[in-house]
Symmetry: C2
Subunit: 231 residues, 2 copies
DNA sequence: GCGATGTTTCGATTAGCATCGAACTATGAA
DNA sequence: TTCATAGTTCGATGCTAATCGAAACATCGC
């Protein structure tokens, strides 16, 4: 028995895989709902609720109730610093969770992240949209669809008015840990992926997060999302 | 399932109370043996061995074998930074392990830390020895008993030659978390406490770490350890 | 060589906690 | 109102990991 700050309690809160996944997801800086965090962690809503209660009790996260949602964010800057230090140590000591199996290359290339496109192609898409100024970063970290961007996605076949009516944010940044870059989430990210599936460019593999592009679809994808700002 | 550094594994290593106690003890910066760490953590040597193997495997601590001892230190500066951040958060969120009972004031005042005196009186003793230059800090963090110090403790009734023969370091610094200052451990720290008990200045309370000073003993203590360098 | 001390391995036990199904509450939509 | 979705609570289950006793192993002092 020793006196002093009880670091074990705090560390144990982060030490559970499900909770660590939630916190990693929150590192992107955006508030996420309990259900979204449950998906990120790969657990049911009940389990997530229990975890979030503990994290909140421990001051690791803060929760705001808005309507029937509860949005969670990281507690404060100390927590962010702690998680970043933790990530650095985990990486340096070779503790990463990257899967090394046959599915891995496919997963790195294109996969579902919740309901939008992640992996190399997801990152390529998002960065192309930025380069062409179809989306823009706002002060505060928000992402906005520009007027040119609105025209672009409408031409691509998305119902922008419908998407704007959803309570969900239109554009959201999502950290892609396999790439160390961001990709596009939010209603627009989901809409773009859905449209590609509808167009037959790709299909989801059963019981997997892999998004399998057809050769034709992949060509069409890079035709559309490799063009330069001026071309 | 997410990719990225596996922060859960590292955090879980720190999240066990026994391991957290060991790491807290190592924060003082000195290498400690497996047995000492077992005492700090309040577990048996077998359990400590298992914990230390895990901490070493995870890169949190490093172990050097010297003779039949194994000395452990914290892995590197990142780990220290991590633990410090952790302590700050734990303290700010009110997660400290300080007992709040009737015994608490007594514990803060004077208690046993392994086998030497801790708490307010332990810190006062150590700081007085420093002020009077009876002990001195060496480069590298070691603490040395000066010639004047050797005369002082001999006059107090300690068998210095005998203590020097022990394989245990004579002077060792020990972080006192209730005071946030150091007190004196090592063979000398243990010897000084034992001498006070022998002199009848104080006695140990049963089933407690409290050291109970008699009024006479407390007066004698402060007579001896409040004097200034020049007086 | 011998005994003593420090450390590790093995095996068995136990306790804590993550997990989920089912039922319940709360908010918003129609 | 009724239905749907988001979130929580409760209870039961199962797995993981901490713990310790006993014994083996290692090293020192003799």
């Amino acid at each position: 028995m020793k006196e002093g700050p009880d670091i074990a309690r705090v560390a144990a809160l982060i030490g559970d895989p499900a909770r660590a996944n939630m916190l990693t997801a929150l590192m992107a800086g955006r508030a996420l709902t309990a259900t979204e965090l449950a998906q990120e962690a790969g657990v049911t809503a009940q389990t997530a609720s229990s975890h979030l209660a503990k994290l909140q009790e421990g001051g690791i996260v803060e929760g705001r109730k808005q309507g029937r949602h509860r949005y969670f964010t990281l507690g404060n800057a100390d927590i962010v610093e702690l998680l970043e230090t933790l990530m650095g140590i985990a990486q340096r000591t070779g503790h990463n969770r990257v899967r090394t199996g046959p599915k891995d290359p496919a997963l790195r290339k294109a996969r579902i992240c919740y309901d939008h496109l992640a992996g190399e192609m997801g990152v390529a898409l998002f960065e192309n949209l930025q380069q062409r100024q179809l989306v823009s970063f706002e002060p505060g970290g928000d992402i906005k669809l520009t007027d040119a961007g609105a025209g672009f996605v409408t031409a691509f076949g998305l119902d922008l008015d419908h998407m704007r009516q959803l309570r969900r944010p239109l554009c959201r940044e999502c950290l892609d840990w396999s790439m160390r870059r961001s990709h596009l989430a939010g209603a627009l990210g989901a809409g773009l992926l859905q449209r590609m599936l509808d167009l037959g460019w790709a299909r989801r593999l059963r019981d997997s997060r892999v998004v399998d592009f057809t050769p034709t679809g992949e060509r069409a994808f890079y035709d559309l999302f490799s063009s330069l700002p001026n071309s």
